[in-house]
């Protein structure tokens, strides 16, 4: 037993080492090619320049401030959008009438690119964080809605029959089977929504903002500060990966039985 555990630890360590090695070769190759071909910094900055820029940006305090602003928009928008999607998903899954009334509008709304709606929202809610929170929420909303509806309808009929033969009421069937069966789907929705939320906040900031990483990217771009732009891009992807990782962690904890069955839906 412990032999197998040791074996799996070794494989894990090996995988980590391989990932690190790949990363180092990639960065090293990038640096070498940029220097060797004498690529101008304004086209493609070498990793060393990005590192210097990130230190400057960080010590000036601007990086932390703008990251905090964007983070706030992402999280608030994600929460608002997911909660709305979740609640409406419940309503629609439980009531065919609600589906007939609301679903056509929801689909119509989903079809409109949010980038096209963003300027209107900025006009309505101003240049501050609230418009970004709203734009993010409109993007985070749909994955939750669609997955909640699908999840609540995913309960196998034999599990429902089993409960019904035990004299379970509709509400008991909902609580004991439909709800737990929906959880894996809800987590897929949350995972998609959190990554989209980062995009949503940046789109909002591009349209018009006074702060945030999207605003910072535009600023750096206008001043031809290519290394600075790359720093923000890297921060953004680290943010996205971190948020996804948190959702994956919660998913493994809460819907543990899916992992056991070997049906993981998302890969890290």
């Amino acid at each position: 037993m412990s032999n197998a555990a040791q074996e799996s630890f070794k494989t894990k360590l090996g995988n980590w080492a391989l990932a690190l090695l790949t990363f180092l070769i990639f960065i090293g190759g990038w640096e070498a090619i940029v220097r060797w071909l004498d690529v101008p910094v304004i086209i493609l900055p070498p990793p060393s320049a990005i590192l210097v820029a990130s230190w400057k940006s960080f010590s000036a305090g601007e990086l932390l401030f703008h990251t905090a602003v964007t983070m706030y928009e992402v999280l608030m928008g994600f929460l608002l959008g997911s909660i709305c999607g979740l609640l409406l998903g419940f309503g629609i899954a439980l009531s065919p009438l609600a589906e007939r009334i609301f679903y056509p509008y929801i689909i119509a709304f989903q079809t409109v690119p949010k980038v096209a709606v963003a300027p209107i929202i900025v006009i309505w809610f101003g240049y501050g964080v609230s418009s970004k929170v709203i734009i993010t929420a409109t993007i985070a909303f749909f994955p939750l809605l669609a997955n909640t509806i699908m999840g609540l309808r995913a309960a196998p009929q034999d599990q429902i029959d089993m409960l019904v033969t035990c004299t379970a009421s509709r509400w008991q069937v909902f609580r004991l089977v439909r709800l737990p069966q929906a959880l894996p789907y809800v987590f897929v929705g949350l995972d998609v929504a959190i990554v989209l939320s980062v995009i949503g906040a940046i789109v909002g900031e591009f349209v018009g903002a006074k702060a945030g990483l999207g605003y910072l990217i535009l600023q750096k771009n206008f001043s031809f500060d290519m290394p600075g732009t790359f720093v923000v891009l890297i921060i953004l992807s680290v943010l996205g990966v971190g948020l996804h990782w948190i959702i994956s962690y919660l998913q493994r904890r809460i819907v543990f039985w899916i992992d056991v069955a070997g049906e993981r839906v998302t890969g890290a």
């Binding site: 034999d158 089993m162 409960l163 019904v164 035990c166």
Partner: protein, 278 residues
């Protein structure tokens, strides 16, 4: 779970234990029609009449489409009958009843619940005393050899163990009538035989009335006091055979000529119907 003092040893020859007057389950003129999606009318059950006495073990055999599963679904209350009377313990059957426990073809355990929590589902649904029935659940799990597995998850159990959990779940709320729908069909032959032995023991210890649907004629004969033979199109009972083999029955009994006679008598129906099965 109370062991009533049954005079088992003296004349364990047969089973007409108060079958007619004091029947626990009475099915009279049961009909079941339904319409398929392409509009065909299916006569799934025709004139089904059956009385099952208290603590009696009845098996139903028949080829696919003979209506045996339909009959079980009606009795378990998830399917509404077209017409006919069904009484269980003196009460008209109107839907699912706490008097009934059901064992399904698959274990149907909820993967997010431990073995113990799975067994407790009927207790929870019916709002029974958690402490009292929790003790009973543990006792049942011990009876089927799953002591120490209470806190495991279903995915950690073998198929046979999962099905035993399903049996405990059907028994936990102490129903008087146990319905079993091909409960061992998915198990390998070895596990199936030992499960048959175990079921005989559970039945003797618990004094439940059991209706078992099965594909396997030897299984039906081995376990039952009476075997109900059904044929399809329309699903109906063609014969009810008393199995007067002595109890407790041993697996080795399946090789005796007496046992073989019952199997042959049942199989004859399917040969003549041209639908040999099992």
């Amino acid at each position: 779970m109370t062991m009533a003092s049954t005079p088992d040893s003296a004349s364990s020859a047969a089973s007409p234990r108060n079958r007619d007057d004091n029947a626990l389950v009475q099915i009279a003129d049961l009909q079941m029609h339904y319409r398929t999606r392409d509009g065909n009318d299916i006569h799934a059950l025709k004139d089904v009449n059956l009385k099952i006495g208290e603590s009696e073990f009845v098996s139903i055999v028949g080829p696919s489409g003979c209506g045996k599963t339909t009959l079980l679904r009606i009795l378990s209350g998830v399917l509404a009958r077209t017409s006919g009377d069904v009484t269980i313990a003196g009460r008209q059957l109107k839907g699912p009843s706490p008097e009934i426990g059901v064992v399904f073809q698959a274990p149907i355990l909820l993967p997010w619940r431990t073995v113990f929590e799975n067994v407790m589902i009927p207790v929870e649904v019916q709002g029974r005393n958690r402490e009292q029935f929790g003790a009973r659940a543990r006792q049942l799990l011990a009876m089927v050899g799953l002591q120490g597995f209470e806190d495991k998850y279903p995915s950690e159990l073998s198929g046979g163990m999962q099905q035993r959990v399903g049996i405990c779940r059907a028994l936990v709320h102490d129903p008087s009538f146990l319905l079993m729908d091909e409960p061992f069909g998915a198990l390998d032959a070895m596990t199936r035989e030992s499960m048959n032995e175990e079921l005989q023991r559970i039945w003797r210890d618990s004094q439940k009335t059991i209706l078992l649907v099965t594909h396997s004629i030897p299984e039906a004969v081995y376990l039952a006091d009476r075997v109900v033979v059904m044929t399809p199109r329309p699903g109906k009972i063609v014969e009810i055979i008393d199995v007067d083999l002595p109890r407790p029955r041993l697996l080795s009994m399946q090789n005796t000529p007496e046992f073989g006679r019952f199997v042959t008598a049942i199989r004859r129906h399917f040969n003549s119907e041209g639908v040999l099965d099992a």
